[in-house]
Subunit: 142 residues, 3 copies
Amino acid sequence: MKAYFGDLSFSTKKKLEIVDVTSNVENVVKKSGVTNGFVNIWVPHATAAITVNENDRDLWEDILQTFERLVPLNANYQHNLKYSWSSAEQNAHAHIISCLVKPNVTVPLKNGKVHLGTWQSILFVELDGPRTRTVNLQVIGE
Amino acid sequence: MKAYFGDLSFSTKKKLEIVDVTSNVENVVKKSGVTNGFVNIWVPHATAAITVNENDRDLWEDILQTFERLVPLNANYQHNLKYSWSSAEQNAHAHIISCLVKPNVTVPLKNGKVHLGTWQSILFVELDGPRTRTVNLQVIGE
Amino acid sequence: MKAYFGDLSFSTKKKLEIVDVTSNVENVVKKSGVTNGFVNIWVPHATAAITVNENDRDLWEDILQTFERLVPLNANYQHNLKYSWSSAEQNAHAHIISCLVKPNVTVPLKNGKVHLGTWQSILFVELDGPRTRTVNLQVIGE
């Protein structure tokens, strides 16, 4: 059993945005040579997250609007008040949504394929963009 | 270290429903012969999810009602409007809740047992039933 | 590849509370001798959870207040009504938030380090304290 590390790097363009990284993950898995095992996907940021769902831009708007409705960008957040002099730190909403959606998903690999369902894509969730972002991949198996 | 794959398959009966799959997971783990390691549980659907909590039908109603209160079945979802001709596609709520609860949980195995706490069960969350559903299990260890 | 088990144990002091367990996790990883692989963090409780975010007490207040706003401590929960004679069981809110945030996170280990981003700490989320709590760690790799 071996462990292979690989990183993705990309830029986001909006405050809230979903980026489909499925094909990038598949490329790293192919390079790893691992055919059976799993890939652990890790977002090393506290204002972004990773999830899994359909590749549908209209749905993505529904998802992001729901996140924003549940955790508004502007509210009396103590984090934002403490850093009221810094526009870059007005991002408590992003930290809170990141706590709910979380930075990790562990996807099975079977017979050389990332074992996703028909309607599943691996979705990076930007919550405080635009920024340059990294995703760490760890492929473990045989 | 070995990797063993196994699937669960079952039918849900309601629109929103929780199904306790703990004993099914334990059976697959037993078959695998792995005693120390972990089982990665994967739901290959974009309108369902997996979580962990108590086996209590009253609590399950509270959980599902809360999900529905936070992400209503009927709202101005762009996904639903795009597919307004299809009653099967009026399911943006299910995709959004699936993005929050997510399709994966990685449970430790220790001394031949799925290492859950006293009040923990593995719960499949149906968000757009009734449907036939699959859960993919991957048991890795020794 | 080896598997090492270790537990954390600590007491929480409030009803809702965040506890940073990063250094405790790092100590167990050091003891394990594993330098490349991952640590699977498991909370064996149905009224607590684990997440990852910044070590900032003001932000933690924002996070907990948001959780409480979305899933109030007092509401017509069937779980609470069923156990209306027991003050200890008035905790449906804790079960529901635990279902959303979930009990597990799988963190990569690289070159002997827990591979967290600059602003990431491993955060235990108490939702029904004060209590004595356990976190199970499983370090797998080489």
